[in-house]
Subunit: 339 residues, 2 copies
Amino acid sequence: MGGDVGLKVTVPASVQFLSDTPDVNLVLVGDQAAIEAELMALPDSVRARITVRHASEVVGMDESPQLALKNKKDSSMRVSINLVKEGLAQAAVSAGNTGALMATAKFVLKTIPGIDRPAIAKMMPGIKGNTCVLDLGANVDCSPEQLLQFGIMGSELVVSLEHRPNPSVGLLNIGSEDIKGTESIKRAAELLRESGLNFYGNVEGNDIFKSTVDVVVCDGFTGNVALKASEGLAHMISTFLREEFARTWWTKLCALAAMPVLKRFKARVDPRRYNGASFLGLRGIVVKSHGGTDALGFRIALEQACEEVRANVIGHIADRVAVQLQNIRQSGPEAKDSA
Amino acid sequence: MGGDVGLKVTVPASVQFLSDTPDVNLVLVGDQAAIEAELMALPDSVRARITVRHASEVVGMDESPQLALKNKKDSSMRVSINLVKEGLAQAAVSAGNTGALMATAKFVLKTIPGIDRPAIAKMMPGIKGNTCVLDLGANVDCSPEQLLQFGIMGSELVVSLEHRPNPSVGLLNIGSEDIKGTESIKRAAELLRESGLNFYGNVEGNDIFKSTVDVVVCDGFTGNVALKASEGLAHMISTFLREEFARTWWTKLCALAAMPVLKRFKARVDPRRYNGASFLGLRGIVVKSHGGTDALGFRIALEQACEEVRANVIGHIADRVAVQLQNIRQSGPEAKDSA
């Protein structure tokens, strides 16, 4: 039901996803009558792989996460996440209210032992390949231990989605030297260095798009600002490019001639291709689609959830965190179990 | 002497600047013999407006700011800032080591009464006009009072450089609602709201490039990451665009046809046009040029320093902060003078 458009995006995306992915079934959760109406024209072979699960409520895009959690127990997002909790679905995908989705997922699914709080992770494009950045807004203040956990979770996500073994992890900072940054970040660097992860060291904002490392770890405040600043800049650049090609009849002719090139360029930076933010650290897979995306974007988010299930990303995170906890227990009396 | 190239950039930029700006003289500070060699071919009319001031040392681009401050008392940047302190120059412009320049400027010039610590501010391009963003890296942790001071300083810079009266000020956050962000940011929002500044409220990363407000206030960690992430993304996009147009003989032909359009586009996002970061809050004008810029970029930084002198930006900041301090003193016994 979620997102700026709702069923007109999520249903076509689901149908397309099912055609491309023969061994998966979908449960569509929301207003049964409205969903059924969208499914009318489907061939039986596709329709048979869709179950509709009624939910009487919808969380609004601007609703308070806490109120949604408290008052909307039959919302489409709550029911979807319940299905994951009950093992009736292997993943939930939503284009709805991010805060409410996170609050609900945390409340219903709980975190993996050893993970303090879940994080939002996303693959970002880079000159030589994608980089996973987390946290992108779930945690405003982060302890050094949380930043270490983000490193573990981001690594496992890269293994799962990008199939790169032993991903390198960078810590987002304002300089490459060890003396840079807050006390919390300096301590996080120490923890990451001792963790057994493939820790690269400090990275800076530009390294996100330089493909310097596979995973960039940061607190949710910094990550969110970096993500949104990048979205803002990309929008400005594409606006300027469009304006320049639309200026006169001559520039329009140039645009026509250059169209195939410009199309290929656009495809490389198409935000829909990078849609799908993973909520990591929970005992279930939840993927958040951008609310403003279209059917292609939502399909990409469905594919991402599917990849995470196939790769057993949660099992891998749990195993790695368990090893980490054991190391901390063995390393001395001051060590504490953060589970 | 500073920057990746040194005199081959700074001297041509200086000469060009003098030709364009008849009522200004320049003092070039550094290795006298090397500078004089660069000035050989100049016509007398320009040469007469240049004074060369010898400095026996140069701070390396990767040198420790504290060591540079302690050991290089005759460095070109130290001597330049001394000239400002002594009133023999109205502003200093350097393409050298940012940390060393800031440490030296702080030590020699001191801050304006009521300003806790200086900040680095820069005009960033936006869809409908430039936005001043600060702090961009001088202060990793910022108190609410400092963020308020950044708001005041950024406003006065916009008045001086952009000639916009009563600039609007946004507080960088991860959502527009008042409940978002850290405790420090929530308190800063209260201070800004009570300050008499034209406070807009919270803004997000994308607002920097949407021209939502004239000034975006943030701590130096977040600001630095946002700036560098933007630089990284801009570089990635221009690389992709170049690669697509260079792919085949046909796309190269398209590029040739579209060249005038692409040139106009590039000019709009040319980082040289946005070169020049102002160190605000000091009792003297210091402008930092990007170390990797060329003569055009360095000239823009010289022009920016010149504009700040003409507009008396320091006097205006001092006046506004004095009013602010008086308000705080009058508002209750718990108020403290942060000077």
